[in-house]
């Protein structure tokens, strides 16, 4: 048996690519269609929590393969019950194109119709309607999406509520779902600084082949990297097959985040500062991103991350403590439970890589790195025996230091990374996401669109 690991196939067997690059064909597809201007989903205070345009982008560029569009009711029901699409492939979350009853009335559409979707007032995509259905109770949908302590006792510790951003997203959905396949007909262009880091699955797979990276380990991020993150990346990448992984892919999640997280611009440029500073040399490191409004669903989010990064051509994925988590709703090791032994109540009696129609990307389940004054180094918790003396890289402690304007020592942030934080702090008058940043970002988005007369 060969120990050599090869690039895994896309989830579902082939990449879904739903971008029409022939502009004349795009015009023809949209001609005469009723028009809908995409709006952000708002919470009860009117603050944006999600923009479905990001889901359309991630579906049409293949990040979420094999998903092709907004889901039918039967598909959502199956996901909530056993985390599988109707074609049996595992998938964690309902993805729906939701509108109000008034929107539906104004559109005047029915099954079989096509809708032209616009962003920033310009044609963007079309949706071919296969089914129109209604969410009877969005709070119930939100709760079923993430689980309950009673139904999912292996990992859910506390009932979800309005402090959990993902729960708020589902709770805030409009009641009418237009289910059907999307096609992007007017390809957006990314605004700086995002433009340099756009590697959708087809392109990332080509890039890794060009770089001769047979093994690639992914680092999930929604953070500006501190030294603990950097050491996680460097050490997790020792895993490979007969040699360490050839490449480290950083994939930042770009979209609405909770207050207190860093702005997207600082996250992506902060990781690039690690690369350009030579802390992980560019030949072994690539910064990329995916558009997605984080649900903070810990094990479920890790399943989506596995799908995205497998589709991008990664062979391995590092998972740490409290992966993509907020609060203490989930057990802090829930993600590693999913990938290490499975979560039966979510439909996985075995690791998610060992079930039919499961994932092919390999987990690298890591504990954590801390500073140890006895070892006098950044130490791995699985090795360092100085539990009493350890000093953890607490994200909130680091944020507090940043907010007070204290220049962090090199043992916490690389100076190049901290300068990126300050650069975007000047731009937004604030170092972290706050309602003002989120509202302005939802007007600006990450993209512009070329003019297109229909």
């Amino acid at each position: 048996m060969s120990l050599v690991i090869e690039t895994p196939p896309p989830h579902g067997g082939r990449l879904e690519e739903r971008v029409v690059r022939d502009r004349e064909l795009g015009r023809k597809l949209a001609k005469g269609c009723p028009v809908f201007d995409i709006k952000p989903t708002l919470d009860e205070n009117g603050v944006p929590v999600r923009n479905v345009y990001r889901e359309i982008m991630s579906i049409c560029y293949g990040f979420f393969s094999p998903v092709e569009g907004s889901m039918k009711k039967a598909e959502v029901d199956r996901i909530l019950k056993e985390r599988r699409l109707l074609n049996d492939w595992v998938f964690p979350y309902p993805l729906v194109f939701d509108i109000t009853e008034e929107d539906l009335k104004n559109l005047g559409v029915t099954v079989g119709d096509r809708v032209l979707l616009r962003i920033k007032g310009k044609p963007f995509a079309v949706l071919d309607i296969d089914e129109i259905w209604r969410i009877e109770n969005t709070e119930e949908l939100a709760t079923k999406t993430f689980g309950t302590p009673e139904d999912n006792p292996e990992v859910v510790k506390e009932p979800f509520d309005k402090k959990m951003p993902g729960w708020v997203i589902y709770k805030s959905l409009n009641p009418v779902v237009l289910a059907g396949k999307f096609r992007i007909i007017n390809e957006p262009t990314f605004l700086p600084p995002f433009d340099k880091y756009w590697f959708p699955p087809r392109k990332s797979r080509e890039e890794y082949a060009r770089r001769e990276w047979r093994t690639v380990i992914n680092h999930q991020t929604r953070n500006v990297p501190h030294i603990g993150h950097e050491f996680l990346m460097k050490n997790a990448a020792y895993m490979g097959d007969s040699e360490p992984c050839h490449g480290i892919q950083v994939n930042a999640i770009i979209g609405v985040k909770r207050p207190g997280d860093y702005p997207d611009e600082a996250i992506i440029e902060g990781h690039q500062a690690v690369n350009e500073g030579g802390y992980i040399k560019p030949e072994r490191h690539l910064v990329t991103f995916t558009l997605w409004d984080m649900r903070y669903g810990n094990p479920l989010e890790s399943m989506l991350h596995g799908i995205i990064r497998q589709n991008m051509g990664c062979t391995h994925h590092m998972f740490g403590r409290d992966h993509a988590a907020v609060g203490e709703y989930y057990d802090m090791w829930s993600t590693q439970i999913l990938w290490g032994k499975g979560i039966p109540s979510f439909g996985f009696p075995a690791p998610i890589t060992d079930v039919p129609y499961g994932l092919k990307i390999r987990p690298q389940n890591m504990a954590e790195f801390w500073y140890c004054p006895v070892c006098n180094e950044i130490a791995y918790s699985g090795c360092c025996g100085h539990d009493k003396e350890k000093e953890k890289f607490s994200g909130s402690f680091v944020r507090g230091m940043v907010a007070e304007g204290v220049f962090p020592p090199k043992v916490i942030f690389r100076p190049e990374v901290y300068k990126v934080i300050v650069k975007w702090w000047k731009e937004f008058d604030y170092p972290f996401c706050n309602p003002k940043y989120v509202k302005e970002k939802e007007e600006r988005l990450e993209v512009d669109l070329p003019d297109m007369d229909i």
Binding site: S394, P409, W425, Y430, N434
Partner: protein, 116 residues
């Protein structure tokens, strides 16, 4: 279980402590690259802080974090005034909650950019 809170010390703050007994209580973190005071408080005091400031949370180290910046400033002022790392400075802070909350409301929109 008792909770802790770290008050970071820069050169200016260290200067204010010069000659006091608290100078001996300055703690080094991260191999001496950060200096701070660490205050411990019992559960009742910790609960008062958590209840007064909705952003506050206890992190994986058992430290109270995510308090307003104004909280940290006032806490240092109270430490400097009382020359204590006991209950007195926290009591002083809790007596100034409305002042802190007033500043905290503005902190959500704007924080001064540090000079590099």
């Amino acid at each position: 279980m008792a909770k802790s809170i770290a008050v970071l010390l820069d050169d200016k703050r260290l200067g204010e402590m010069k000659g006091s007994e608290l100078e001996n209580k300055v703690q080094m973190m991260f191999g001496g690259q950060l200096t701070c005071f660490i205050l411990e408080m019992d559960d009742d005091k910790a609960k008062q802080v958590m209840d007064a400031f909705h952003t506050a949370r206890v992190d994986s180290r058992g430290f109270i974090t995510d308090v307003p910046i104004a909280f940290n400033r006032v806490l240092f002022e109270e430490i400097a005034k009382t020359k204590s790392l006991g209950a007195e400075p926290i009591d002083g802070v809790m007596a100034r909650v409305s002042e802190i909350q007033e500043f905290a409301a503005k902190e959500g929109e704007y924080l001064p950019v540090p000079e590099l």
